[in-house]
């Protein structure tokens, strides 16, 4: 099959690296979660592009709906973790979580 990579893949790459940059540089755990959400969205768009390229949007759509559900659960439980961490440590700075060392 001849695949010409459409413009989507550039957007996907840009979104992915935006999210990855956000996850690398920020120290605030909420910002890390936002970065994670951005890279998840780039994966969603990759799936849409795959469905469009193979003319199989039905499969791609059903996959994406399940993916969005999974992401919502992951982010919700991640936020619960942040709240629990804030109550115990009084801070949401990821650099202060350095108690476990070898």
């Amino acid at each position: 099959m001849n695949i010409n990579f459409p413009l989507d893949w550039f957007f996907i790459a840009i979104l992915f690296f935006t999210g990855a940059y956000c996850m690398i540089v920020s120290r605030n755990i909420i910002k890390l979660l936002i970065g994670f959400e951005i890279i998840s969205k780039s994966a969603t768009i990759a799936m849409i592009t795959a469905g469009q390229a193979t003319n199989n949007m039905a499969l791609a759509q059903s996959v994406i709906i399940v993916m969005i559900m999974v992401e919502a659960i992951v982010i919700a439980s991640g936020l619960a973790l942040v709240v629990k961490s804030y109550r115990l440590n009084g801070s949401i700075d990821i650099k202060k979580l350095m108690n476990l060392k070898g």
Binding site: M1, I3, F16, A20, M23, I29, L32, F36, I39, S40, S42, A43, T44, A46, M47, T49, A50, G51, A53, T54, N56, L59, A60, V63, V66, M67, V70, I73, V74, S77, G78, L81, V82, K84, S85, L88, N89, I94, L97, N99, L100, G102
Partner: protein
């Protein structure tokens, strides 16, 4: 999904749904429901497996035999952990009803994962398993466990994005992601990239060496029975199982020479970095975590040969690892409960006070290091044979040398914790309750019997993985 086995996944799920509705004061009922659910499953699966092992007759066996074996391992470790936590002192803050319900949901997710027949189902249940496990890590609500859970979250969830990228590239190439309908007719660039993305994601989930930074922290920081659960089965099924599945899929089409080099190198790195780092650790749980990394490297090395004997060795070592690592982590939990610490410099001479714990940990560590009558010896022998036969002589020798390191760090652990003269402050400690020893002793017996009756076990493995 394998429809005829689906009840093994649905029954724990229903039990997990019932548990939150039980009033908090009836704690016993919660524990009984959780234990009975897993015990019934393990009796059922154990009957199926022992029936074929004893009779040695495989005429009526279906192709789902591998799935059945994985289900048995999951139920075995799940049962051991549930029974252990029932008698392990639960801290006051621990929400035990959510604890048992999460264990049952994660058992259900793992069973669905090994039953899945396409990449997307694999992804969904892997995510369900991860969410359950980081909720389980925080079950004692201490600073360490919260930190471990946050590290686990941020260092492994980006892997799922990589898996989705891989799946979408696979879909562009083949139009589907079903294991049965994908035909790997040619190993073109796009297939290589997509499979690399998927394997990379699962390697991060499994904690193989370039991505191992979360593993020691999580195993050290989490609630003690949970760290046995994580090391024993969760990371194996959530990460390594998928890699073995991909290897089985590719080797049936005769591809994988490029992926083989990649996997061999990560496996080699993992074996050595894990073994060397384990020798210098001071905390017992942290040392066991590095040992776990090293043993997972062996599984990857075996799978990376893409040969039938390599796959048998990988699956056999995965199951052996589930048994002996569960024993070692549960023993470390017993030691922590009796003495209040897992720091190996403070512990000494516990052999005189905790003989059962000491002897079961000797059995498990000899099995890990590969001493002859025990099950770990056979799986390591198969791994080295597979590597040698497929021409990777350097990696075979490296695996042999690293197993000497394994014996070295375990002997150091045993000497520091159990041997020597008992210090004054440990004079009044006692052996753990006999209920806590039951799962450990049963799994130790499984290790011994699997090793002694290897002439029966090997044809079984050969049969189910052909």
């Amino acid at each position: 999904m394998a429809i005829d086995l689906i009840s093994y996944s649905l029954v724990p799920l229903f039990a997990a749904l019932i548990i939150p509705f039980i009033p908090r004061k009836h704690r016993r009922i919660t524990e009984i429901i959780a234990n009975i659910t897993l015990l019934s499953g393990i009796i059922n699966l154990g009957y199926v497996i022992i029936y074929y092992l004893v009779l040695n007759d495989y005429t009526s066996y279906t192709s789902d035999a591998f799935t059945t074996l994985m289900l048995f391992t999951i139920y075995l470790v799940g049962m051991a952990i549930t029974f252990f936590s029932t008698y392990y002192e639960v801290e006051k803050d621990t929400n035990f009803s959510s604890y048992y319900s999460l264990i049952l949901v994660s058992v259900s997710a793992m069973c669905s994962l090994v039953m899945s027949r396409d990449f997307f189902t694999l992804y969904i249940f892997m995510e369900a398993l991860s969410v359950c496990s980081f909720a389980l890590i925080t079950s004692d609500s201490k600073t360490f466990s919260i930190e471990a859970a946050i590290k686990y979250f941020f260092l492994t969830f980006p892997a799922s994005v990589l898996i989705i990228f891989g799946i979408s590239l696979l879909m562009i190439n083949y139009g589907t992601f079903d294991f049965d309908t994908i035909k790997f007719t040619s190993m073109n660039f796009l297939t290589f990239v997509s499979l690399s993305f998927i394997i990379l994601g699962f390697l991060i989930k499994a904690g193989i060496v370039p991505f191992h930074f979360w593993t020691p922290d999580v195993y050290e920081g989490s609630y003690s029975p949970v760290s046995a659960y994580m090391a024993g089965i969760v990371t194996k099924v959530g990460g390594i199982y998928a890699i073995i599945k991909i290897v089985m899929l590719l080797s049936s089409y005769g591809f994988g020479s490029n992926l083989s080099k990649l996997l061999l190198f990560t496996g080699f790195l993992s074996v050595f970095v894990g073994a060397i780092a384990a020798t210098v650790q001071k905390n017992m749980k942290r040392m066991l975590a590095y040992s776990s990394i090293s043993q997972m490297g062996y599984i990857i090395l075996a799978a990376a040969t893409f040969s039938p004997i390599g796959i048998i060795a990988a699956v056999f070592h995965l199951i052996n690892h589930a048994t002996f690592k569960t024993v070692l982590f549960l023993n470390s939990a017993c030691v922590e409960k009796s003495t209040g610490t897992t720091n190996m410099d403070e512990l000494k001479g516990l052999e005189h006070r905790m003989p059962w714990t000491s002897w079961t940990s000797i059995i498990a560590l000899f099995s890990t290091a590969g001493l002859p009558p025990l099950s770990g010896f056979w799986s390591k022998l198969l791994i080295i044979l597979a590597l040698w036969q497929s021409g990777h002589i350097f990696y075979a020798v490296a695996a042999l040398i690293a197993s000497v390191f394994t014996l070295a760090y375990f002997t150091i652990m045993q000497k520091k914790v159990f041997f020597g003269k008992l210090p004054e402050k440990f004079n009044d400690i006692k052996e753990a309750k006999y209920q806590l020893l039951i799962p450990v002793v049963v799994i130790s017996l499984i290790i011994i019997f699997t090793g002694v009756f290897f002439n029966r076990v090997f044809p079984y493995f050969e049969r189910i993985l052909s």
